[in-house]
């Protein structure tokens, strides 16, 4: 019975509302503006803390990412849904995670932050949202054309535990903050990386989100995809709830500042706000879900989703080291080129792993 109740629509609405309010409150408690929760930005900060990039202003082990995985793990164990599985084109998922992060960091946010930026009054996020939907539409085209990464297999339980164990390792690094001769672990002393809510509050809130999202299957990309692909508005209801709850909460907390110029951790180059999220939206759709969903899946034993997350973290390191990530001044030197190359790679993946290539051969 307990398993069934979370399927009802009110629970996905509750999950969306909880995420929307939590994100704005975490911002009030210290997280960067319009970035109460951003999976891409927070994984990028983790990459920085580990020294995978040296952008000094974005280095912090974000407990929210750890909490998402722990929360999902706990829910999966309680409801007997923890199943170690792997083997559905893991390397391809790594590439898709990498490219999704490249695109997200050109826009400066994941689908969650796109909604939170909108809820904070950032008009530039409209272009990111349009890009995200465009990317999802292209992904749907491939899914309708038989796109398939192949079946996964049940595997040894330990394989499913690797991601939670990695998160435990990150948590210990965050807690004890060892200082090695190399300078690692890196923690920003200024900029967004230095802004954070109290550790245990952020961790606890994220664990509750991880728990709820595992039960309700919350996913921002599938929300749009399912409406178009299978005429199902279940997840979309949750996403709209997130947006509205964050908007109301921002108004109450006086965090709503409408406009385009001078928005926090955002730029006004609308072409690449759009383009970055086309790439991210397409890569997320080809991989089966938004970055939050990938974390929740990795908490319930899906090692392929875990590989996608690792691809995102490595992608973040690359994005800053190779100047593809944007800054408030605009896209990085190689940002536009990386989006174009990323889109070409995603299109090749979409064509070659669907029935489109077969049809071409037959013709």
């Amino acid at each position: 019975m307990l398993k069934k109740i979370f399927c009802f629509r009110k629970y996905i609405i509750f999950t969306g509302v909880f995420i929307g309010i939590s994100a704005t409150v975490l911002q009030k408690l210290g997280n960067p503006a319009n970035m109460g929760i951003c999976i891409a930005c927070m994984e990028r900060d983790i990459a920085g803390a580990l020294g995978l990039h040296r952008a000094a202003v974005v280095q912090y082990i974000r407990p929210e990412i750890i909490g998402f995985v722990f929360g999902s793990l706990i829910a999966a164990l309680i409801f007997k849904e923890f199943k170690a599985r792997s083997g559905s084109a893991p390397l391809m998922r790594f590439v898709l995670g990498f490219l999704a992060m490249i695109g997200a960091l050109v826009f400066l946010g994941c689908p969650w932050r796109t909604l939170l930026r909108l809820a904070g009054g950032d008009g530039n996020a409209l272009f990111g949202l349009a890009g995200l939907i465009t990317g999802i539409l292209v992904g749907i085209f491939f899914i309708k054309s038989g796109y398939n990464l192949g079946r996964n297999q049940r595997t040894y339980p330990l394989v499913g535990w690797i991601m939670p164990l990695i998160m435990m390792g990150l948590f210990l690094l965050l807690l004890f903050r060892p200082q090695l001769p190399s300078g690692a672990v890196f923690f920003s002393s200024q900029g967004p990386g230095s802004q954070h809510a109290p550790l245990f509050i952020a961790l606890l809130v994220a664990m509750v989100i991880g728990f709820l999202a595992q039960r309700t299957r919350f996913c921002t990309v599938a929300a749009v995809r399912d409406v178009i692909l299978i005429k199902d508005t279940y997840l979309f209801t949750g996403v709209i709830s997130l947006l509205l709850a964050a908007l109301v909460s921002n108004l109450i907390l006086k965090q709503f500042h409408p406009g385009f110029q001078g928005q926090p951790i955002a730029h006004t180059n609308q072409l690449w706000n759009f383009g970055g999220m086309v790439l991210a939206g397409l890569a997320f759709t080809l991989a089966g879900g938004c970055p939050g969903r990938q974390l929740f899946l990795s908490g319930e034993g899906d090692a392929d989703a875990a590989v996608f997350v690792l691809g995102m973290i490595v992608g973040a390191g690359f994005a800053h080291n190779f100047d593809t990530a944007s800054s408030p001044q605009g896209p990085g030197l190689w940002g536009p080129a990386s989006v174009i190359v990323g889109l070409i790679i995603c299109l090749i993946i979409g064509f070659s792993m669907s029935d489109l290539m077969k049809k071409k051969k037959e013709a």
Partner: protein
Amino acid sequence: MSEKIDVRGLSCPLPVVTVRKKLLEMKNGVLEVLVDTGTSRDNITRMAVNTGWKVEAKEEDGEYRLIISSKKK
């Protein structure tokens, strides 16, 4: 006459897309679906019920057997 599909191991949204396509072809009758995750079970059940089918789910060794049947006999 009952038909059977195995969508175990497929990533979201392929299980629900595959079953939806099959149900649209069948129009009525009984479809037996093997799924291996709670997410696929929930997605397929919601889609089938929303499109006018009856769903009976049985858990077997951590996996699920969904019996989807048309309401009209």
